[in-house]
Symmetry: C2
DNA sequence: CTTTGAGCATAAGCGTCCCTTGGACCCGGA
DNA sequence: TCCGGGTCCAAGGGACGCTTATGCTCAAAG
C-alpha cells in the first residue's frame, strides 16, 4: 500500500555513501554494519527503478538519478533536522508558547509570580495572559484559544455551574482554597465582631461582584433563609471596597482579591459557616503533557503555596 | 541506534490527519486502517517528546509542536515528491542524459541513426556524442566521463590489446562484425581480382589508419610472413582513399568506414582469409541497467542491423 | 608471484516494527 | 433508547531491517 515510498532513512544512507564513497565507510559513519547499508541501497534502487550507484571496483560513483536524489536529499534532510530541532526546542522548554486565561483576582496575584518564574527558568518560552471570567475562559480552552484557564468554583453549590460549564473532562490542577470574607464599613454595627453569620446580614444592602459571584452569593444567602437585596454589582474589586467604605452596603469577597486591594475604610469579617471557593488551573488532557504547559502549571502551583 | 528519527511516513500521516481532522478520515485517505494511523501518531509523538494533537472529543486540533511539524512537513514532502518525480522521469525515459563516445567511422553511421531514434522515441532524453578512439574511450568510460563507449576489437589478435585495455569487466553489446577490405588504385595490377590474399601485397607501400588499426595491420601481415612498409598513417579515411587513388600505396579499411566515403579512383578487394573487426558498445554493468543507457544500447543494436 | 587487507555481496537467523482484526468505550443524534 | 461514527486497546501475523558469518574480487605490499 504505502510501500515503495522513499523514506528519510534511505536518503540518510545515500548521503553517507555519496559523502564517503564507500559502503563500509558510510556504515561506520552511520553506526551500523556494512550489509545494512548494502541492503538499504538495494531497497532504494528498487524503489527508484533505476541504479543509483556505479560500483566500479575501485570507487563508488553516482548515476544521474543518484545525483538527483543526493541533490534533493540535502534540502529534505535539512528540513527534517530543522523540524526535529524545532520540536525538540518545544519539548525541551527552549521554546513554546502558552496562552493563559485567568480571572482578574487570580491574574493579579498567582499569575504574575508564576509567569516571572517561567521567564526566569525557561527564557525561550513565552506565556501570554488574557483575563476572562470562568464561564468564558473554559469556552476559550475548549475552542483552542488558550492552553490554561485559571478558574474557580464553589464546591458546595455546583449544581447549576456543573450543568452549564462542567469540566469533568478537563485536567484540573487545584491551586488553593480561597476563603470568602465579609466586608463591612468601619462604622458598621458588626465591624468589631470578628466573625459573623450570613443570616445576621439579611437586612443589609449588598454589593455583588462578577455574575458567578453574584449568583453564588444569592445561593448561599437563600440556603441561610433570606434573599439578599443587591443594590450594586461590579467586578471591579476596588470599586466594591469603595462602595462598602462609603456605607452603601456590605459585600462578600474572596480573600485572594483583598491581597492586592487596600481595604481603606472597610473591615473584613470571617464568615461563620466557612464559605470557600476552589481556585484551579484547567487545561486539556493532551495539553497537560506539553512541557511548557506542564511547567506553567507547576509554577502556578508553587505560586499558590506562597 | 538510528531509531527515534522522524520518518517521511510519519509526516505523511500527520499531514493527512491535520488535513482531514480525524484519524479515520486520514486512514481512508491513506488507504489503511484507523489503528494504523493511531499507532503512527503515537510513535511520532513518542519521537517528538511532546504531544502533537489535541483529542478533544469532537475535533482534532494541533498543538504548537504539531503545527511546527505540519509546517515543515509541507516543504519536506514537497521536496520528497519532487525527488521521486525526477527519479521516476529518469526511470521512465522522460529524462536522462547519456554521454556517448564513439570512434569516427562508427559515429558517422551507426550513432546518428541511433541518436535520431532516441530523440524520436524519448524526447526528454539527451544523448551527447564525443569522438575518441578505443583506448581512450574505455578510459573515459571507467573514469565516469561517459556512459557508453562504441569501440571495436580484432578477435584473433587481442593478446596485446587485452593486456592493455581489456574490458572483461565491462558489458559489451555486440553491434556488428565489420569485414576488412583492401583498397587499391584503379590502375593497380590486382584491381580486377575481386579477392586477394594479404601476402600478395607484401611488396606494396601501405597507408595505415589509426594507431590501433596500424598495429593490427602489422600483426596480420606478420602472421602472413611479411612486414608491411608503411609510408603514410592517418585516421582520416577520405585522406586514405585519396592517397590510394593517387597511387601512393594500398590500404586496408573496415567496410563500415567506406559507407560514408566515396571511394573515387580506388577499388575494393575482398581479403582472402577473411579479417574482421567486432564493433561493440561498451558500458559499465550498473549503467547497463539505467533505462536511458539500455534504450540507447538497444537503438545502437537496431541501427547495426540496418 | 604470492600474500594480505579492504570492500562488497549473499544467506541465514532473529528481533522489531507495523499493519490488521476484533472488541470495548464514549459521544452525539434520531 | 438505540444507533452510528470515532478512538483506543489487545492480540495475531507478516514484513522489514539489522546482524553475523561467509565467499568473492581487487589492489597494494612482501
Amino acid at each position: 500500500m504505502l510501500k515503495d515510498m522513499i523514506e528519510a532513512r534511505h536518503l540518510r544512507v545515500l548521503r553517507a555513501v555519496a559523502a564517503t564513497g564507500s559502503f563500509s565507510a558510510a556504515a561506520r559513519e552511520l553506526g551500523c554494519t556494512q550489509p545494512a547499508v548494502s541492503q538499504q541501497m538495494k531497497a532504494l534502487e528498487g524503489a527508484a527503478g533505476t541504479p543509483l550507484l556505479i560500483r566500479t571496483g575501485r570507487e563508488m560513483r553516482l548515476t544521474e538519478a543518484g545525483e538527483a536524489l543526493v541533490r534533493h536529499a540535502a534540502g529534505i534532510l535539512a528540513g527534517l533536522t530543522a523540524a526535529e530541532e524545532e520540536v525538540a526546542a518545544i519539548a525541551g522548554l527552549r521554546a513554546g508558547r502558552v496562552r493563559l486565561v485567568s480571572f482578574p483576582s487570580g491574574s493579579s496575584t498567582l499569575v504574575p509570580t508564576a509567569l516571572a518564574g517561567m521567564r526566569a527558568a525557561h527564557p525561550g518560552t513565552r506565556v501570554s495572559l488574557v483575563e476572562a471570567e470562568p464561564p468564558r475562559s473554559v469556552e476559550m480552552l475548549r475552542a483552542g484559544d488558550c492552553e490554561i484557564a485559571v478558574a474557580f468554583r464553589y464546591p458546595q453549590a455546583d449544581d447549576a455551574a456543573e450543568a452549564g460549564g462542567g469540566w469533568e473532562d478537563l485536567v484540573a490542577r487545584p491551586l488553593l482554597s480561597d476563603r470568602l470574607v465579609v466586608v463591612v464599613p468601619r462604622e458598621h454595627r458588626l465591624a468589631g465582631a470578628g466573625t459573623v453569620g450570613m443570616a445576621e446580614l439579611a437586612e443589609e444592602p449588598w454589593i455583588a461582584g462578577c455574575p458567578r459571584c453574584r449568583r453564588h452569593l444569592v445561593e448561599v444567602c437563600e440556603s441561610e433563609g433570606f434573599t439578599p437585596r443587591i443594590d450594586f454589582a461590579t467586578d471591579d474589586y476596588p470599586a466594591v471596597i469603595g462602595l462598602v467604605a462609603a456605607g452603601l452596603g456590605v459585600a462578600v469577597l474572596p480573600e485572594l482579591a483583598l491581597e492586592s486591594v487596600r481595604a481603606k475604610g472597610a473591615v473584613t469579617l470571617e464568615v461563620k459557616p466557612a464559605v470557600r471557593r476552589e481556585v484551579v488551573a484547567l487545561t486539556l488532557p493532551d495539553l497537560a503533557r506539553v512541557p511548557a504547559v506542564a511547567a506553567t502549571l507547576d509554577r502556578l502551583e508553587s505560586a499558590a503555596r506562597r
